[in-house]
Amino acid sequence: MTSLSGASGSLSLNLRIWRQDNPGEPGAYRSFRLERVGADLSLLEALDQLNEQLIATGERPVHFEHDCREGICGSCGFLVNGQAHGPRAATSVCQLYLRQFADGATLTLEPWRSRAFPPIQDLVVERSALDRLIAAGGYCSVNTGQAPDGNAMLIGQEQAASAFATATCIGCGACVASCRNASASLFVAAKLAHLGQLPQGQPERRRRARAMQQQMTAEGFGSCSSNLECEAVCPKQISADWISWMHREAR
């Protein structure tokens, strides 16, 4: 029972961070060293600490997205040594703890890179393309007050659990960032599978599949060539099998 006590000690890190003032200007890596930070801190808390030091010296703090810091809001996300959300499977970067790394390690942090995610500043990119994919059809068309009794449709336990598993996508964009075609196939497939597995999603199933995939192309996302990197980096471990399922759906 020592791990929360700071008994796992402290470590020093070299951080190589992508710095870019704004979308119009070229970016570059800058190196920083963090001395003796608590190993029980998260990587983002280490960046908080770095930012406090930068502010004290009058330098602009490193801009990164974050909010819940517990792996559920999908705000955070950048590459750590080339891997989306870093080395730990099924983990968003806010849930990456320093005890994961060796003392003296060098971590290279860079933003998602994809045509559909324009850069904003440092590690932050614009991901509203994902919202527009949902707007294209990722819903059931039911107005408030029109709903039938929730028990009128029986849904088997397994079926509900499988729909739930695809509905857990947090919209972080790691799948896009790690795909060499910058495809949003896993994101779209997850939403189609969530609604397509439930009786409520049936009336609009075909239209939804077509509209969301068309929007994907319109936003500049690439197509899927089955490298399965998306599945490997997904913090919610959504299965890429749903992508082949999606391709059958659209027909």
């Binding site: 700071g6 810091r69 919202d131 059931c140 068309s141 039911v142 007050g145 709903a147 088997g156 659990a161």
Partner: protein, 507 residues
Amino acid sequence: MSSLPDPQLPAGPIAEAWRRSREALPLISPLRKRNLTLLVVGTGLAGASAAATLAEQGYRVRVLSFHDSPRRAHSVAAQGGINAARAQAVDGDSVSRLFADTLRGGDFRAREAGCQRLAEISSAIIDQCVAQGVPFAREYGGTLATRSFGGALVSRTFYARGQTGQQLLYGAYQALMRQVAAGRVELLCRREVLELITVDGVARGVVCRDLLSGALEVHTAQAVLLATGGYSNVYFLSTNALKSNASAIWQAHRQGALFANPCFTQIHPTCIPSGDAYQCKLTLMSESLRNDGRIWLPASAGDERAPAAIPEDERDYFLERLYPAYGNMAPRDVASRRARELCNAGHGVGPGGRSVYLDLRDAIAREGRQVIEARYGNLLEMYERISGDDPTDTPMRIYPAPHYTMGGLWVDYPLMSSIPGLFVLGEANFSEHGANRLGASALMQGLADGYFIAPATVTAWLSGHPTPTIADDAPACREALERARSRIGALFQGGGTLPVDAFHRQL
């Protein structure tokens, strides 16, 4: 401050009072709605559900959110579930029981008519969410599954694993995006509301800041709905997301909206305790774990043995001992207070003696590791990731932390603040939870406000109050803009050397 404004409580017996008053509320024709603009601030459960519903009804809706996407609002983090009285279970739950539990849980400080309304609406919320495709847990037979939550003796909490808030929010978010696609909602993200615009004492818009460009913007409307969440983040370490901020309701209060019960904050008993000074927040472990986890401390103070080395008769299952009826499911405030007292008396475990054990051992022995892992999967993983300990081998360590704020902007029964035309929804208002909120009732309240109450009451208010459109450069707008500009200017003039977080940490 002189006397309180009229809370507009319904007359007659409170049972069915909401149905009666709703049926009597004046309406507005769909044609007229098309010419009326409403401003909704916040896209959590309350804001997203209100914006989507108002747009469905024909209003032009403009939505402002601090986040980069509506889907990120803090509601996404709610774990355990949502209450509803559906009288379907065998344990005798009913609308009047949920009403009574809400009132009792709140130490009789809540408005009875409001609690009754919530209980009456609760079932329709579940139907609405199911129709949107929210994948609630189901029984083998296919019906909706429930579990019990702190402060309740019946099983009325509907859930989607440990991610209920996420699934409910995505339902509301998808309904909202459908209206965005239909052109009825204009969605403006990364905007921080800084100032309220009032004309002749009536709320008519806001000044906000574009968080990327820094530009100040004026948005006017026929009415303003604030759904900006609670203020637990005034404490540096809370379970709230880091962007949860109280700035919008605080600003409204500074501009004259009454604030009710600010001291009623909920301290949640089951959070992962703090370690390092740079730790930025405390992570909640859903209290649904108290269904299966037993809470205990060493019976003798200062016992430093590892938990496994402490024999059964030297463990104090203090909630079971003190509250045999509720056991580990004692209401949150009670569980938090007892844990804190015992830790202060030297029984606490972990660093600084600032935690208590939540032990799944007996549940695992009874039902098997697999069943327990399936029930709480993501929570157990989260605990392990943060603490480095496996909760199926070693008891979890938990400690109380600020979590929810029952207090908030004062609203009347129709959810309007003391500034006419300013409606307040969700955790941002002070409604219905009195001095203490029942577990799984915040989601219920946020969605009741957004899907069902505000759409009816905002319409009723607008029908009786002609609010001619005002220009963006009207004197009231220019003044509000100037106030915001000079406040920001003053901050830049400050010239100190301490980073913002240093102040927050000291609070």
